[in-house]
């Protein structure tokens, strides 16, 4: 979600603490083990809650049972092959088919057992088979369904978010140096525009560039039929990428620049920066060594959160632009009551998040000499 990158970068307030006893290795090992165990428990609880919600207290089971009953009955009654059967034989056939279909979807077992199976399988990343959804290549493997959508999401979310992230940092840094200039004031004045979500800008962009000017497509990934030549294909995809990517960028660029600029500004009023300036160091060096270096943990945190947020895609922007990404797949999975796909997409996000949070502890220790792994609370 873009909110991660939107929120103002928070200052890392870890206080250096000295622990005299314990050898460093034991301490780090112990700390890591505890972290991993708590992370796993957190992920398990989160995923189980998602499974519970995706079932809505047995409500979804009822819906699925009814759909199976209706579908099977209609299928058998309408099938000319079975026309000669007696009513009883037909009924028996229907019951048998319903039972086998329910068995296939696991509906013959109580939800408690089924949910535990979902949880167990998902925790070992055995994503299993979808109940209804099918990938474009005809596979029912959840893994394949998600993998098939990943490139589109990575293209859209990746391109827009990376441009946004690095773009706003590199604009914010010089901007923080000359705050009070008209450019700075303009950024501040424009930053409320980020209260409007990306899909909303998308609507306006579609209206202007697709409906009125007719220079860019309304939506989708490629033209239909797609160009055969792979170069033309790539060009065509890029053309379709412009509107969704720019609406994602426009919707957060000004707030992002504003937050980073304020953040850098706070850091550049530190005494050591003043000293560096007083020494007569060139602004480039001051920026790189005295401003960027101490702010690196925050930049890394934000970047890591951004990268994992890519996984969830941008459901609504993808819906508005009919972009075949992960967000829209999740939305469709929910519409099709396809619990394995919902759980699959959640578990991957949860793991990515847990892994990132864990890694960040170590990265902090690497980039910030004041932080020691396992000493005090790094968060």
């Amino acid at each position: 979600m873009s909110t991660e990158s939107l929120s103002a970068p928070t200052q890392d307030s870890s206080v250096p603490k000295k622990i005299a006893s314990n050898s460093a290795v034991v301490r780090v090992m112990k700390f890591t083990a505890i972290r991993i165990v708590t992370m796993m428990i957190t992920v398990a609880i989160g995923v189980y809650l998602t499974i519970l919600i995706a079932n809505m207290g047995g409500y979804v089971d009822t819906i699925m049972r009814n759909e199976i009953r209706e579908g099977t009955t209609m299928g058998i009654l309408a099938n000319p092959q079975y026309r000669n059967l007696t009513t009883e034989a037909k009924q028996e056939l229907i019951q048998k088919k319903i039972a086998s279909e329910e068995k296939r979807l696991g509906l013959d077992q109580p939800f408690a057992i089924r949910s535990m199976r979902y949880l167990g399988n998902s925790l070992v990343l055995n994503l299993g088979r979808a109940q209804r959804m099918i990938s474009d290549h005809g596979s029912k493997e959840v893994r394949l369904i998600l993998l098939e959508r990943l490139p589109a999401t990575l293209l859209l979310a990746g391109v827009s978010q990376l441009l946004l992230f690095f773009g706003s940092i590199f604009i914010a840094l010089p901007l923080s140096r000359k705050y009070g200039s008209w450019l700075d004031k303009l950024t501040i004045a424009l930053s409320p525009t980020s209260s409007v979500p990306a899909w909303f800008y998308g609507i306006f962009f579609i209206l202007i560039f697709a409906a009125i000017l007719k220079i860019l497509p309304f939506g989708g990934l490629v033209d239909s039929p797609p160009p055969t030549n792979s170069f033309d294909y790539g060009l065509n995809v890029l053309k379709h990428l412009i509107l969704p990517a720019s609406s994602l960028i426009v919707s957060s660029v000004f707030l992002s620049i504003y937050s980073w600029r304020t953040f850098f500004l706070i850091y550049s009023s530190e005494d050591y920066v003043e000293v560096a300036k007083a020494k007569g160091l060139p602004p480039r060096d001051v920026e790189n060594r005295y401003i960027l270096r101490p702010t690196l943990p925050t930049i890394i945190t934000n970047f890591a959160l951004l990268v994992i947020a890519l996984w969830t895609g941008f459901t609504i922007t993808e819906t508005v632009f009919v972009w075949p990404g992960l967000g829209i797949t999740l939305y469709r999975a929910i519409g099709a009551y396809d619990t394995p796909v919902i759980v699959g997409s959640t578990i991957i996000y949860a793991y990515l998040l847990a892994l990132t949070v864990l890694l960040l502890d170590f990265v902090y220790a690497l980039v910030d000499p004041r932080v020691k792994v396992g000493a005090g609370s790094p968060q």
Binding site: G46, M56, Y59, P192, V320
Partner: protein
């Protein structure tokens, strides 16, 4: 009080704050007007009423103010009825039983295109003998066109352009063209038209009323949608709903989060630990997906969505920043003093810890309103809008589902979108200014 005054004095120095406040006040005014003029049940009835409620409106009509921006003036829809006196009606008795009912309506027609349709809705009362009506249109250039003669039942709908006899007598199927253009030059005739209905009733207690509805290309202040619904209703009524959703969600989330953070930091120990763990679990939960699931599986009621939004929002990331601040103020000397005189934990939390935080909360609160307003619209765009209530998001969703942008019906999307945008920007601008006032660290930056 003086603090409030000072804040206000500072606030009016920021043009964005003034602009934002004005926008919010305007929206509040619209919301109050909507709630005062249209009761909740009536809004739902009109929005969900179908053709019975909206039969008088044209389909897909753009708003009437389109004519301001275009050179060719498109016809604007209107209606007139003898019941409310818009159409004149004179009854003269010829004998004991027979009386003639003359109805007439004059209207200015200065548009550059003929209307889509003219429809007459008759309501009559009689015992056995059906009343009779003949309809005549008098054009500005003095032509008197006999439109039709008919016996009218209790409820009769007469659509002028579908009258086969009239088509024959005018020698064209495009009746409206023939009625509103000069037969020699083929140009539109502009001026005052008069539609006369000469009715005759054949019983002493028999009566007759008529309603004239002209369907043009434009309608009202906001236009109409696919189902002939007047879009002014959702635009007006969507305002209180959007504001209520945004404000309640923002207030609920912010205050509950703060209370929980305060309780956690004050008691510490396992309570604090539990709250932190819940926050971490909540981080793993897919927020939008859960809302979509609840909407798809269970209920799309906007109030349920609001509850879930608040529930999931309480244990959000902001609990950590509140906790950090509470940890500091917990050690403050005034808390020490409160403890010394024997204040209870509840008293310390609710009268000492939390009130100190409220100023810090206000900017965040105001800035978070747009997010929730747009969340409602986002859910509606995904097809999970409230099934009963007219909201801005529903209008956008309807327009998208009907391909309004592909077909050039921009007003359908733009009107709710502009309102949403105003709401978002209004709160965001005010929130930004408040942030700079309440966070002195940002003030000179």
């Amino acid at each position: 009080m003086t603090a409030l005054k000072n804040t206000f004095r500072e606030l009016i120095q920021y043009p964005s704050a003034v602009l934002g406040t004005l926008t919010i006040l305007l929206l509040l005014g619209i919301a109050a007007y909507a709630l005062a003029t249209i009761p909740y049940d009536e809004a739902v009835r009109q929005w969900r009423g179908g053709e019975d409620v909206w039969y008088q409106n044209p389909k897909y009509a753009a708003p009437a103010w389109y004519n301001f921006f275009s050179k060719t003036k498109k016809p604007v829809s209107f209606k007139a009825s003898t019941v409310d006196g818009g159409m004149t009606k004179t009854v003269t008795a010829a004998s004991a039983d027979i009386s003639s009912v003359d109805m007439a309506y004059s209207f200015e027609y200065d548009y550059d295109a003929p209307p889509q349709e003219i429809t007459l809705y008759f309501t009559t009362t009689f015992d056995q003998k059906l009343p009779f009506a003949s309809v005549v249109l008098v054009t500005p250039d003095g032509r008197e066109i006999k439109i039709g003669k008919m016996a009218v039942d209790r409820k009769t709908t007469y659509r002028v352009s579908q009258d086969l006899k009239l088509q024959k007598s005018l020698k064209t199927e495009r009746v409206m063209n023939a009625l509103f253009t000069n037969p020699d030059t083929g140009k539109m005739v502009k001026g005052t038209y008069q539609l006369r209905i000469e009715g005759t009733t054949f019983e002493s207690k028999s009566g007759m009323d008529a309603e004239l509805v002209l369907h043009g290309d434009l309608y009202g202040l906001a236009g109409t949608d696919k189902y002939r619904r007047d879009l002014l209703l959702p635009l007006l009524y969507g305002t209180p709903i959007a504001l209520a959703f945004g404000l309640v969600a923002a207030l609920g989330t912010a205050f509950l989060t703060m209370i929980i953070a305060a309780i956690g930091t004050w008691y510490g120990g396992w309570i604090d630990e539990l709250i932190q763990r819940i926050t971490e679990v909540n981080l793993v939960l897919p927020f939008l997906a859960i809302l979509i699931m609840v909407g798809t599986f269970y209920s799309r009621s906007i109030w349920l969505m609001l509850g879930i939004t608040i529930l999931l929002g309480i244990f959000g990331g902001s609990i950590k920043s509140y906790r950090a601040i509470f940890l500091q103020s917990k050690e403050a000397s005034y808390i020490e003093a409160a403890r010394a005189y024997g204040a209870s934990s509840g008293r310390i939390i609710f009268t000492y810890l939390i009130p100190r935080m409220v100023p810090l909360l206000i900017p965040t609160l105001v800035s978070s309103v747009p997010g929730y307003v747009f969340l409602e619209a986002s859910l509606a765009v995904l097809g999970l809008g409230d099934p009963l209530l007219p909201t801005w998001g529903k209008v956008i969703n309807d327009a998208f589902a009907d391909g309004a942008l592909y077909q050039g019906r921009y007003y359908w999307v733009l009107e709710p979108a502009v309102l949403l945008m105003f709401t978002g920007l209004g709160f965001a601008m005010l929130g930004f200014a408040l942030d700079r006032i309440f966070n002195p660290r940002l003030r000179d930056m």
